[in-house]
Amino acid sequence: MSLTVENLEVHYQTTRGPVHALDGVTFSLADGEIMGLVGESGSGKTTLGKSLIRMDGRMRHVGGTVTLDGVELPIGDTVAMNKFRFSDVSIVPQYAMSAMNPTRKIGRMVRELVESRKIRFSTVRDELNRRLDLVGLDRAVLDRYPIELSGGMKQRMVMVISTLLNPSLLIADEVTSALDVSTQRAVALALASFRDHELVRGMIVITHDVSLVYQIADSITVMYAGRLAETAPTDVMVSEPRHPYTQMLISSLPEVGVRYSGKRLTGIAGSPPALLNPPPGCRFRDRCPLAFDKCAEQPPFVEIAANHKVACWKAM
């Protein structure tokens, strides 16, 4: 699998004008890679995830291309995209708790879903059972209604459904945010195991929790205000972040054992610019301690080391 996203630009239509939620996003994903996508709230993570599979009514594909396995995805075209959904690109949505039709037994829902894609249910039935085992769900859940499942179970069930057709690319949006630490761990590991079993060939894990993606991702991409700030292999990102935003972000995370009296951490003052009419230049400029004149110009997203790209004049 390979995914290449180039210069992707997506806007939200609002009464006050377009919100530039994604503004020239470029990255690629290698076969078997899990990419962690982190960033502040509102930075465009979910938008990116949605753009790759299904835009909602207000989203407009303004520019850029997405190529999956050599085929350009018609992401702006809701109908044409259908062909790729589920089988090529799939998603575990942020709202897994409510993603299943509350009035259908889960098994039946899956069957109807699969059959609606012109696939015989019998051909995936065994696979379905296997995967339930894989994520530690009793096969009997298929005979239950969603309401009868706990949050963690629902989350895992949705993961199973979404990956049933072995999509090349799986987008997992905040799949663990609503869970307790112990369940979080189980779900995150299950996610990684999908890749390990080659049930999906590439994965974008969206979260606001850097520590979490650190656990399962091969690379981490940091978004800031609709753009990519930095992307790097996980260990590199954690140990040698180059973008000032990444640096500040990582250093503001309290760790077990760290106490304010020992090491007083600091956050990042200020807030990201509004995306309605984003200012030109580096968007982190206003909050950046290193900002200088050049930052009035948009820094390019350049590779500074192997697989390590940064959009910052100072980092180049």
């Binding site: 599979i53 995209m81 998603i91 039709n101 009035t103 259908r104 879903l113 309401i147 949705v158 459904i161």
Partner: protein, 330 residues
Amino acid sequence: MGRYFGRKLGIYALTFFVAVTINWLIPRFMPGDPVRSMVTRAGLQDPAGVAAMQDYYTRLFGFDLPIWKQYLNFWGELLQGNFGTSLWAYPQPVGSIILAAVPYTLGLLLPAILLSWWAGNKFGAYAARKKVLDNAVLPVWYILTATPYMWLAILLAWALGKVAGVFPVGRSFSATLQPAWTWVFIEDLISHWFLPFLSLFLVMFGGWAIGMRNLVIYELEADYSHYLGALGAPQRLVRRYAFRNAVLPQVTGLALQLGVIIGGQVVTEIVFDYRGLGYLVLQAISANDLFLLQGVFLFVVIGVLVANFLIDVVYVLVDPRTRVGMGGAA
């Protein structure tokens, strides 16, 4: 589940009790005296005769008893299915008068409710989120629900009955016919049934269609719809699911609407001089037949309660969420 129904039944029982009590009370605090109206009907002038007659009817209606006893008797009689004697159709028992009218009312009401519900839901769901269609039909539906039942009835009667002369207007069947299972009669019955049915149907149809449209829009925006969409499920499936889920509140809506629908039925019957319960209500009111009025009212209350209960049962059957919620302790 048992507790759920137990609770529901409790509410219904209480409602029934309240309704019966109100019903028993009101005539006793309001002007009008059935005894005197009966005496008048005998057309007496002589004071002695009047007194004797008065005595007779007072005892007949049980007004000579202490009030609490009257109340208890009322319940006693009621539980035996005895609603008392009608004044309007003296000396027929209220129960049999009502039973004679019920087929007409139900014959009008049931098809109108069920068909309008079914069709309204179908059309509403169909139009939801279809811009052009939606914009075109929505105002029509709103106009329909906003139409007073009797006015639509009058309009239809006037336009299709009087002016166009396509359908007969007035009575459940031609005055010149006798009820019998002959084709002539059945045909006549249906042609008299159609306009009142249509007027009820149309008004209700608008309401259901609007409700369904809004609910489907809501469901189409629900997470599970988006999820299905994201997995490339065709619109057909998404809409089917949305429809199924949107129907559930409509089921409850049906229960809530019953009271209003019955009001509509009453006036429609009056416009078309259709001989159902609505007609009886009007007769009871104008003849000051409090026993009949009480009887019809109780009958309606019982009907509504039973219908509500049935709807509750249906709801539980179609919505797994309620079942799960009731089954589990949490």
